[in-house]
Every structure is written in structure tokens, then in C-alpha cells.
Symmetry: C2
Amino acid sequence: MKSVLVAGGAGFVGSHLVDRLLRRADIARLVVVDNLWSGLVDNLSHIRDPRFHFEPSDVEAVQSPHLFDEIYHLASPASPPWYMQQPERTISANLIGAMRLRELLKDGGRFCYTSSSEVYGDPIVSPQPESYRGQVDCTGPRSSYDESKRCTEAFLFESQRVRNLDVRVVRPFNIYGPRTRADDGRAVSNFAMQALTGRPITIYGDGLQSRSWGYIDDIIEGFERFFWRDTFDYRGPLNIGNDREISVIDVARHVCKLVPGSRIIHVDPAPQDPTNRCPDLTLARQLLPGWSCHIPYEQGVKMTIDWFANQMRRERRAVSNG
Amino acid sequence: MKSVLVAGGAGFVGSHLVDRLLRRADIARLVVVDNLWSGLVDNLSHIRDPRFHFEPSDVEAVQSPHLFDEIYHLASPASPPWYMQQPERTISANLIGAMRLRELLKDGGRFCYTSSSEVYGDPIVSPQPESYRGQVDCTGPRSSYDESKRCTEAFLFESQRVRNLDVRVVRPFNIYGPRTRADDGRAVSNFAMQALTGRPITIYGDGLQSRSWGYIDDIIEGFERFFWRDTFDYRGPLNIGNDREISVIDVARHVCKLVPGSRIIHVDPAPQDPTNRCPDLTLARQLLPGWSCHIPYEQGVKMTIDWFANQMRRERRAVSNG
């Protein structure tokens, strides 16, 4: 029976991974470590499983009397306005977080890390295969996130080389879906919240920048297969995402269709916003046969809007009952 | 009067920088912090200056009751065999070192960092301007050095953005000269020591990979002008190096000429050895008019061999007197 730690488990992606892990029968204990910087207790409040424990702590300072068989490191904000506001803390969470977590891993245990497609920066190759070395400005306003993801990959793959650490590293592309923070600041949740609250939908720049949106359930399915379900020697990095490239303005227009009365306005471009981002999924298809991002964005965006609308109703009820 | 800290001040480059700093009349106290991982006490043993203090400590753990007006962060091994052997420690020295040192800086103090031309990885653009985003494999065997330099740049430039830290970041290209360790492992010192001890000169691969060797005195002159002597608003990154590109085999042949009886052999290429590396010095020439790497490699290599030969004589005398 396994003991498992999920750092950042109260976050958007982390909490979905926790749900998935708790489906496993071979886990005796699952500890979530989260300092609730961008994570929310609410994301875990539905869990009634006695194996589950929540430890409020910075990942760099986490204490545990036990070592773990598997560690999942997702402790980092992922949205530009969040990490740009506290860049030093972002670097620390990723890299010093990884260093601390590795100390809590049993000999022979597995260390799984969610890196990011941001390691490719503003790519001049499209789609981006894992071998593409990227185009990141290491002095720019996005560098705390991009470079700490890169440096944490370096730390983990070098730990594999010199001490045979069993690592698994994924590079997820843009993920969206239920449990994104209302104030997350990225496109889909922004558009959904703006439309639902009757505010104009704001597009940074012309909106022609493209992204490859992967719905959370599809992404978590990829993580599950790579991190623990399937067996292979390859340890990463592995692109996990949707290779259907959609422009930001197309998503905004779709939100307008779903929420009648919405309107779009354009504001200044975000600093160093990548013009495109699309995974080369050759490796993922080979390693995880049958896996792909099945849910089209039209459907995923609708489910996300429905979830946000439901959250707003719950909050209104809570206020009126309070 | 200023108080100054030099982390890594017992190293090859650090000790030359310390000599240069001690020429200044406005410094009241200069503390060198070094854990002697790749630094050598011998590099500082000539100093008789009462302002000078040596603090044996890891940079990440350095303690000081005083804050400093200027901090120079050079604490990192710079030779591939050294950092590849202890990659986690290399990342820690650079990045956690920078985090710790920043805590020791007075408000309004200046933080100077020696990054590296390795942030460009194996470049597909030549020469490399500072704006070139590089070509680093963040999962490869050189990544601990390359990525921790990149991530430390990110940390510093983001500290500048969010808290107005006065940073100065240089990206030196290949440096050589006296006080390189005999077991450093990079080309010029390897060739010199091999020739002087009657061993064959080993070239990794065909030797056609080019480097831009800068003699230490020229490099330190560039550091001095950028770090404290000249005045400007630009804070880096700034390429400092020699833009005369010389192939490894040409240097080896020159060593053969200087040390009669030497011979060259070829061994397997080093992993991910860059094929070329040459600074675009447009910015340096503009900011530091009149500065360049004046000393041609033919002369610099000769001075380096002479220094190594002298060191060997000193050691033999020490042994025969011991």
C-alpha cells in the first residue's frame, strides 16, 4: 500500500489529480500540502475519504515524519498575473519546493512534476515537440515561471542522472475547466466570468494569438496514464495537451454565443504573450495509445461556464442564507 | 565608505575580481565568502590588505551581522566536469545563493552577478547578442549550470522589476588565464597541464568546435567598468568576452608550438558540447567605449602556460623543502 503526497493539491489541476488518485485502491494515505496562495480549500471540500489529509504549508517548508512512495509536485501559480506579482515566490515554490519534496521521497519512490508548455516560451517552431529547446526571455516578465519550470526540470533530470531518481515530467499546455479561480486571469475563466457578470469580454491585443486548450478531464487522464497507470521506461518530458489550435478571439466569440448579450472589447496586449502554442503529440500518442483530448472546446467551454454559473448561484445562496 | 561581499572570491575569476576591488579607495571592508569547492585559498594568499576578510561558508548559508553596499555573486563551479558531478549543488549555489545574498544587501545596494554565455546553450545564431534567447536543453547533462544561470538571471531581473533592485548582470564567454585550477577540465588549462607534464593533449571530438577565449585581465577590466566604474542606466545582461573565434584544435596546436615535444590525441566528444560560441559585442562597445579583449590568445596562452610552469616549480620546491 502506497503513501502519496500532492503538493499544490488544493489548486485547480492539483485537486482534480487528487480526485483521480483517490480512485486507486493501492493508496493507504494521501497528503495534500498547499499554502492556499492560489489554491482553495473549497476545491477539496467534497472529499470524505479517510485516507485524505490536508497539510497547510508552504511546499518549501513542508514537514513530515513519514517518507512517501509517490510525490506529485504541482505547487505553483500558473496564471501570469499571479506569478508576475510574486516572481521570487514562484521560483521558490517550483525549485526549492522540488528540492524539499525530494527529501521526503522514499528510496526508489517516484517523483512526478507538472512542468509547463511555457518552457517553450514564444516558440518559433510549431507544433512544439519535446526536443524543441524553446524561446524564453530569461530576463523578461514571465521568466519567474518559465525559467523556474525549466530549472526544476533540470534539477529533476539531473537527479535522475546522478542518483537514479525515478522522475516523471509532463509539460501540460493550456488547461481550463471547473475549479479555475474566478480571478485566475487566463482567457477561458476570464471570458466566462465577464460574460456571466455582464461585463465586456476583454481580449489582450487582437486576439489572434492561438492556444491549444485542453479540458481538465482529458489532461488528468493523460497525467494518470503517464504518472502511474501505464508502464514504460520513458520518464519525460511529455507534452500533454490539445493539438487543436484555437485563437483567443474564437473562444471569446463562442462564449458570446453561449451567454447572450455578451460583447467583446480589445485591450493592450499582455507583456510577452506568446503568439502561438501547440503541442506536438507524437510522443504522447506513441506512449499512451488511445489517449487524446477528446472534449472539443465548444463543449468544454460550455461545461466551464455552467460550473461558474453554478458557483455563483451557490455563493448567492450562501450570502442570502448567511 | 563601502562594504563589499564577494561570493566565490577564492575562485579563478573571483580572486582576480577581489584584487581589482582592493584597488578602490572607497571600500572599507571586503568579505570573501567561499566554501572552497572549486576555489582555492592559495588564490587569495598574496593579499595583505587589512580590509580583507575570508569567511569559509556555503553561499546559501552565509551569515553576517552587517549588510553590504555591493554584493558580487560568483559562487559556482564553471567547468562542465565539476558541475556535472554535483548538479544539484550547482543549482543551489547559483539560485539559492542569490536569494540568500540578496538578503544581505543594504537597501539601495548593488547586486552584481556573473551569469554565463552558457545561457545561449548550443546557439543557432552567431555571434550571440544579449537578446538571443538561447538553445539550452533543460533536461540535458549541462542543464544544472545553464538553467541555474538562466533562472538566477530571472530571479534578479524580476527582483529589479518588482522591488527596484539595482542589479548588474554580465554573461562572460570562455575565460582563461592564471589561477585556473590544474584539474579544472576546460581546454586551455587542460592543454597547458598536459603539455607541461609530458602527457598527450586530449581534444574532445574533432576540435573544430570554436570558442571565444578571453584572457582574465581583459574580462576583469570589462567587469570593473560595468559593475562599478562607468555610469549608465543599463543593468544587463551584458556580453563580456572576446569575439575572435578560435577552434579548440588551433589552441592545442599553439600549445604544441610553445611546449616542444607535445602531441595531440582525439577522444570522444563531450556531451552536448556547443559547436560554437561567440559574443556579439555591439552593446559592450557602446556602453564601455574603448574596452575590448586586447590580449591575443597566442600571448594569453603563453602567459597561462608560464604561470602553470611556475606553479609546478613552486610545488616541487615545497615538496623538496617539506
